[in-house]
């Protein structure tokens, strides 16, 4: 199909044809086309079918204001044809239709609308209830439009992120936005200008009207050139804004061109101030069959011709309500598009006599005070019915395109997300801000301005306004006031058009208020009749504004129509809440490159080389086990009978020093920390205010007011916060340093641990010189000084070496070399878990939970009951619950042989009553039987008690086993191995 040659306003490069396919048919578009303009240019008129009635739908808007032109593009559903730029080779399919959208087998539904009033499904299908699931699956089949393939990964193209900081974010690259950016930039501010289209200039880019001696598009072009050249102004095109959030955080995404290194880029801009110059869009005219393919917005027809060189129609009827509509009609006529007539809903008020002269010159019939009341034609517009708004006679015209609106409405989305207070303005007949959040400014045509000079001046006023707000380098105060004076002298906001009562609306036909959800004028009436009589309730009841177009098509009209039907003044009408994100970012773009933020220990590659299977645990990646035996029998046996080594680097490691260091320790630890001694590990634990176990570890005094201590890996990140929180009122003088990442550690454990260590150091590590719970500084290998702690979490003789992280791989090599003769091997978290459980050592979160206190799990011995002076965190709770009946207690279990083995999480029952659960249970090679650690009600928590374990895998399918309660210290209960 031939294209128009619109001249300099054209964005399409006809020398670069691009092949693509629609429904498998080969078609040609051009570089610069959007998918929608290319399809329209190729003769496609029906783009898809509507959600509920399966009515044919065509190109209505150019900015994705409805889902009419949502397509599947290269298998990605719900792509907006209007805003997606055409690329060669695209495979495009329509949605919600089988085969050709011109022939859809559900099209018959349109005839049954009378049976489907607003919210009809709430009153149907539920009696008898047994049939409801059937109806429901039928309804579900009709839901949605695009088809997502759950097996696909949609990994098309690179997604990146960008985090910006600016003094001012200007939203909208039209003349007002550009003027604002220049003014702010000239004042020395750092400006980011965001424009969703590919070019700056807004609607001026397609307007050719002569203004002060040059066409508007050239005026805009000159302004754009200045903006591009401005030093402090960063211009982002193809960058729709998704929202303005608290304190002027502006977010959006940039769509890459072929020259960009990304397909899409998520960006966030923290701006001190924001200038919103988002412009206007058509307010839809609500009339019968206003959704037919061939009914479109003024801007759509205009841009098809001027921007894309596509002939919008052969014979075009205009039913508009503002001067821009008249200008568009005249311009199209000049391009050789036949204008059948122009109806203007306004009786009078058109600006300037030159418009009438222009209409006369071109012999275009003009009907003031009239509007189209009906579109004729089923699959595309073949004509229309024009009526006087005062009633009276109607007249029928033939046309193949009907350009209709009820004037313009401001794009309020961005202001609404920024939480500006908006109110209906009875002059401009749009929502205008009555109160702006701090640092937010508005400019341009969205304030109702129509004159290009006024629009630019409003931008300059905003630009100098933000400069003043930011305390920027204003050239002079007088200089800043000049634009304001200049703006006052220019024409102010133009009068808008109020509600248009198209006669006979909804009678015998559908008049759409919302296209995406097929919401009609009649549905509004029905909502009100049900008592859902405010826009927010009608939205929820009948779906107005819930589709992909959101508030854009329905928002203002719904509020106006509802006020009108209720008989309330229009200014009382509140539109439905606009919710971000405005530009519908894809999840791929929001998700970005997906970096793994989990830390690796200094020994990560050494462990990986030995076949470690890693898990994310808290902030770390840790070796769970080695090789392919998740039960870790060999790792466990090796520690019990020989020697193993564990990478314990994520262990929390801290130094606290200062005059009040001991006070702080006394506050958070349950024991009397004044007993911490040099060279000796003091084990203790921290509780929260409810007495629940938070953390445990050892504390070593290193000098006066100077301590080294360890925490569990999971708590390392919270420990500084915790100390400081619980001492925040005390004004104590201490320093707390987190050494967790600075120091690595490894734990050599097993009966042969000392023999391995002896090969690494010349220091005396004999049992006499280096007894259980001692802490020494030893020199290892070629002079690496390490703290060595003799602990026994796994229940064996063990030495934990703490050394600077960069030396730890060297220590590891030394240990592996020294241990080679013994058959040393690494063990992982699961082996450690089994080893410590056999010993009856608790892991926080495994044997403790919200319902149990320190004393409940048998660790109350460490609590210094006498101390009330330190105000230990958790002590009052422990005191209160000390002898409370009915609490859960930690016990050991010996499971009877022969029965089904319990697993972690198996319930403990007394008849049908749950009295506890098994926290950790394993079949132990060491012990020769199945042991368990369980939390059970105090009444059952005494040695020798026979209890029942219950595996209820399906209702009524119960397998029980029996166990006996015993001390949880199953292995080496007297600790001889630890001390050996």
């Amino acid at each position: 199909m031939s294209r128009l040659r619109p001249g300099e306003t054209c964005r399409v490069d006809f020398s670069r044809p691009l092949e693509f396919s629609f429904l498998g048919r080969e078609m040609t578009g051009y570089a610069g086309d959007t998918v929608a303009s290319a399809l329209y240019g190729a003769g496609v008129r029906i783009f898809g079918r509507s959600l509920k009635y399966h009515r044919p739908r065509g190109l209505y808007s150019m900015e994705g204001e409805s889902a009419n032109t949502f397509m599947s593009i290269d298998g990605v559903p719900n792509e907006c044809a209007e805003t997606t730029e055409l690329r060669a080779g695209m495979a495009i399919e329509p949605q919600n239709v089988r085969g050709d959208p011109g022939r859809d087998r559900f099209g018959f539904l349109d005839a049954f609308d009378r049976l489907m009033p607003a919210g009809f499904y709430y009153h149907l299908f539920h009696r008898p209830y047994a049939l409801w699931p059937l109806f429901q699956s039928g309804l579900r089949r009709m839901a949605g439009t695009g088809v997502l393939d759950p097996g696909a990964e949609y990994r098309n193209g690179v997604r990146t992120e960008r985090y910006l900081n600016a003094d001012v974010a200007v939203i909208g690259g039209g003349p007002a936005g550009m003027a604002a950016a220049l003014a702010a930039g000239e004042s020395g501010l750092r400006v980011c200008l965001f424009e969703r289209r590919g070019r700056l200039g807004g609607q001026m880019t397609w307007r050719v009207r002569d203004f002060e001696g040059e066409p508007l598009y050239r005026r805009a072009g000159a302004l754009a050139a200045r903006v591009r050249a401005a030093e402090n102004v960063n211009v982002f095109t193809r960058s729709p804004v998704t929202g303005v959030w608290g304190e002027n955080l502006v977010t959006g995404f940039a769509v890459g061109t072929e020259d960009d290194p990304f397909r899409e880029c998520h960006w966030e801009c923290r701006a001190t101030t924001v200038v919103v110059a988002a412009g206007c869009m058509d307010r839809p005219l609500v009339f019968n069959h206003n959704d037919r393919p061939g009914v479109m917005q003024v801007g759509t027809a205009w841009r098809l011709a001027r921007t894309y060189g596509v002939r919008p129609g052969k014979s075009v009827a205009f039913s508009v309500a503002d001067d821009l509509g008249l200008e568009a009609a005249i311009d199209l006529d000049d391009m050789g598009v036949r204008i059948r007539f122009i109806a203007d809903a306004r009786e009078s008020g058109q600006q300037g006599p030159e418009v009438f002269d222009a209409l006369c010159d071109r012999a275009i019939p003009f009907f003031p005070g009239c509007a189209v009341s009906r579109a004729v034609g089923r699959k595309r517009v073949r004509g229309c019915v024009l009526r006087s708004l005062k009633g009276g006679r109607s007249r029928r015209f033939r046309c193949d395109l009907l350009v209709a609106n009820a004037g313009m409405q401001p794009r309020i989305g961005i202001l609404a997300t920024a939480k500006a207070r908006l109110a209906y303005c009875t002059h401009t007949h749009g929502y205008q801000p009555t109160e702006l959040p701090p640092g937010v400014f508005v400019a341009g045509s969205m304030t109702g301005l129509r004159d290009p000079r006024s629009i630019e001046a409003s931008g300059r006023v905003a630009g100098y306004g933000v400069a003043e707000w930011c305390g920027g380098r204003l050239k002079s105060v007088a200089g800043a006031r000049a634009p304001a004076r200049e703006a006052e002298a220019l024409p102010g906001p133009g009068a808008g058009c109020g509600i248009i009562h198209a006669p006979a609306i909804g009678r015998g036909a559908k008049a759409f208020v919302d296209l995406d959800e097929d919401g009609t004028y009649k549905n509004v009436k029905e909502s009100i009749a049900r008592g859902l009589d405010v826009p927010e309730l009608a939205k929820r009841f009948a779906g107005f504004g819930l589709g992909p177009g959101q508030y854009r098509v329905a928002g203002q009209n719904l509020a106006m129509i509802m006020a009108d039907l209720r008989g309330d003044p229009v200014e009382t009408a509140h539109p439905t809440t606009v919710r971000p994100p405005l530009g519908a970012p894809s999840l791929a773009t929001l998700a970005g490159p997906g970096h793994d933020v989990h830390k690796r220990t200094p020994l990560h590659s050494e462990l990986a080389g030995r076949g470690a299977v890693f898990r994310r645990a808290g902030a770390w990646q840790r070796a769970r086990h080695f090789g392919d035996d998740p039960s870790c029998r060999d790792e466990i046996r090796n520690v019990r009978t020989n020697v193993g080594v564990l990478d314990s680097s994520p262990l929390g490691k801290f130094r606290i020093h200062g005059p009040d260091a001991l006070n702080a320790l006394q506050r958070v630890y349950m024991s009397d920390m004044s007993k911490a001694r040099p060279g000796r590990c003091k084990y203790s634990a921290m509780c929260n205010d409810m007495g629940q176990l938070m953390d445990d570890g050892v504390v070593v005094a290193e000098g006066p007011g100077d301590y080294y201590f360890t925490t569990s890996s999971a708590r390392a990140g919270d420990t500084v916060e915790w100390f400081r929180f619980h001492t925040r009122h005390d004004d104590w003088d201490y320093n707390l340093v987190n050494l967790t990442d600075v120091l690595g550690s490894l734990n050599i454990a097993g009966p042969n641990a000392r023999r391995v260590l002896e090969r690494l150091t010349r220091d005396n590590v004999s049992n006499q010189a280096f007894p259980y719970l001692a802490c020494r500084r030893i020199t290892v290998g070629d002079g690496v000084e390490a703290r060595c702690l003799r602990l026994g979490f796994v229940g064996e003789l063990s030495f934990e070496l703490h050394a600077p992280a960069s030396y730890v791989p060297y220590l590891w090599d030394l240990v592996m070399e020294a241990g080679a003769d013994f058959g040393i091997r690494p063990f992982g978290l699961e082996a450690q878990n089994c080893l410590r459980a056999e010993k009856g050592h608790v892991i926080i979160g495994m044997e403790s939970e919200q319902r149990v206190t320190l004393t409940d799990i048998g660790m109350g011995w460490m609590w210094d009951r006498e101390d009330t002076v330190s105000k230990k965190v958790g002590a009052p709770a422990l005191r209160a619950c000390d002898r409370q009946p009915g609490r859960l207690n930690l016990v050991g279990l010996r499971v009877e042989e022969g029965a089904k083995a319990p697993r972690d999480g198996t319930l403990v029952v007394d008849g049908d009553k749950i009295v506890g659960y098994v926290c950790t249970t394993r079949s132990s090679d060491t012990l020769g039987w199945q042991y368990g650690l369980a939390l059970v009600h105090r009444e059952h928590a005494f040695p020798g008690r026979r209890i029942h374990l219950c595996h209820e895998e399906a209702p009524g399918q119960r397998v029980t086993s029996t166990a006996f309660v015993m001390s949880p210290h199953f292995y080496d209960p007297r600790g001889e191995r630890l001390r050996s």
């Binding site: 409801w132 839901a143 999840l587 007495g691 999480g905 219950c950």
Partner: protein, 406 residues
């Protein structure tokens, strides 16, 4: 053919100077309580006061998942009865609540999570509620498109499948209950903001509202996330923090997700609505507040989590994000209490994440409690006093750091 003759779902009523029972909060809990007061207990003088429009708060802002797979028996029993009420109410109210019995799947992403899941399944089955432990393959059969590989930071280890769960159309519940309550004589007053509570001699005597003073004999605070602010009018301290929880929907597409799923490790729940959108959410900001603010941070965070669980979702777009209030208690279990220091004062609050699924059943028992003055047995575990005895309900295992916001 009643669906073709639009009639008001609920009638406007004159504001009377005195009602026997006044309920603060026109959400699901308040309307259900009013409905049962009228229906079951034959009380004729009941008013529901709503400061915005009915269903404005949490009732209209949740992701509509219903289930009975809680951690403790006390909770499971209550929610199970709640689940069984959806079909019953649909019939009673003659209003289709669109209960979609699609089942729910909670994913486990570690060995420890699977231990917890096994315990949940046993607990549910013990009291006769169906739940089963699934392996990763079975999870993918229920939820197509799950990434079972090692690629996700937290690979899928299995899940808890709970067939009785599902989705209910949340707004329909509000409107249906309003319809049923209004038909039984309950007065529903929208745009009626409570500004103060009057007491005399230790008794509640009435409320001061934006529409005038209203006397009452018994007063129920059922204001969802705003409950703590209402209680504060009487100086009543509560272990409740109102926090915003965010949710969002994608563009609609043809249903492929026929089960609601959630993941603790990724902090995500998701289901595909009757309209074809994926409704998803779960992020909670930690600071107490009464706003309905959504954040850019969370939009991104949610996308990161979702595409890791289900790579196909890279191909969809977010359409709308919003938030509502969740009134969090330290043990994630509610507070239903009639002993608050004022005779005639009742509180139904602290539902946190679970206010929607519990609405009708909570209303049923709160009505019984308020009408009789005697605490129903099933509500015994939800006393306020448990927090003064350090007896948490066990609904969550998580140990808090400082308070319920962390």
């Amino acid at each position: 053919m009643s669906w073709l003759r639009p009639r008001r779902l609920w009638r406007p009523a004159p504001l009377e100077r005195h009602y026997e029972f006044v309920i603060i909060g026109g959400g699901i809990h308040g309307l259900a309580t009013a409905y049962y007061l009228a229906r079951t207990h034959g009380i004729e003088s009941v008013a529901v006061l709503e400061s915005h429009y009915i269903g404005f708060g949490g009732s209209g802002r949740n992701t509509a998942i219903v289930r009975a797979n809680q951690r403790t028996v006390e909770n499971v029993r209550l929610y199970e009865e709640g689940l069984k009420l959806w079909p019953v109410l649909t019939d009673e109210l003659d209003f289709n609540l669109m209960f979609f019995n699609c089942g729910t799947l909670n994913l486990g992403h570690s060995e420890a999570a699977m231990n917890g899941i096994r315990m949940l399944a046993s607990t549910h089955n013990l009291v006769g509620v169906k739940s089963e432990v699934l392996d990763p393959q079975q999870c993918a059969e229920v939820i197509p498109g799950l990434d079972l590989s090692d690629r996700p930071a937290f690979p899928i280890h299995g899940g808890l499948y709970h067939p009785p769960g599902g989705i209910v159309r949340h707004d329909a519940v509000v409107w249906g209950l309003a319809k049923g309550a209004s038909a039984r004589g309950v007065h529903i007053h929208q745009g009626c903001e409570v500004q103060g509570i009057d007491t005399s001699d230790g008794r509640v005597t009435g409320v001061r509202t934006s529409l005038g003073s209203i006397g009452c004999d018994r007063l129920g605070i059922m204001a969802g996330g705003y409950g703590s602010a209402v209680a504060a009018m009487l100086g009543i301290e509560l272990p409740i923090h109102p926090l915003t929880i965010q949710a969002m929907v994608t563009h609609p597409f043809k249903p492929f997700l026929h089960t609601a799923f959630s993941s603790g490790a990724y902090h995500v729940y998701a289901n595909q609505t009757l309209k074809g959108e994926i409704a998803t959410g779960a992020h909670m900001d930690p600071q107490v507040n009464y706003t309905n603010d959504a954040t850019a941070y969370y939009l991104k965070h949610q996308a990161e989590a979702l595409v890791e669980l289900m790579p196909a979702l890279r191909g969809v777009r977010f359409m709308r994000i919003w938030s509502g209030l969740a009134d969090m208690t330290p043990d994630m279990a509610p507070i239903m209490e009639g002993e608050l220091g004022y005779e005639g004062l009742y509180l139904d609050a602290g539902w946190g994440y679970f206010g929607f699924k519990s609405g009708p059943v909570a209303g049923k028992y709160m009505a019984q409690y308020m009408a009789s003055g005697e605490r129903p047995e099933i509500l015994a575990p939800f006393r306020l006093g448990r927090f003064l005895e350090n007896r948490y309900s066990g609904e969550t295992a998580a140990v808090m750091k400082y308070g319920h916001w962390d």
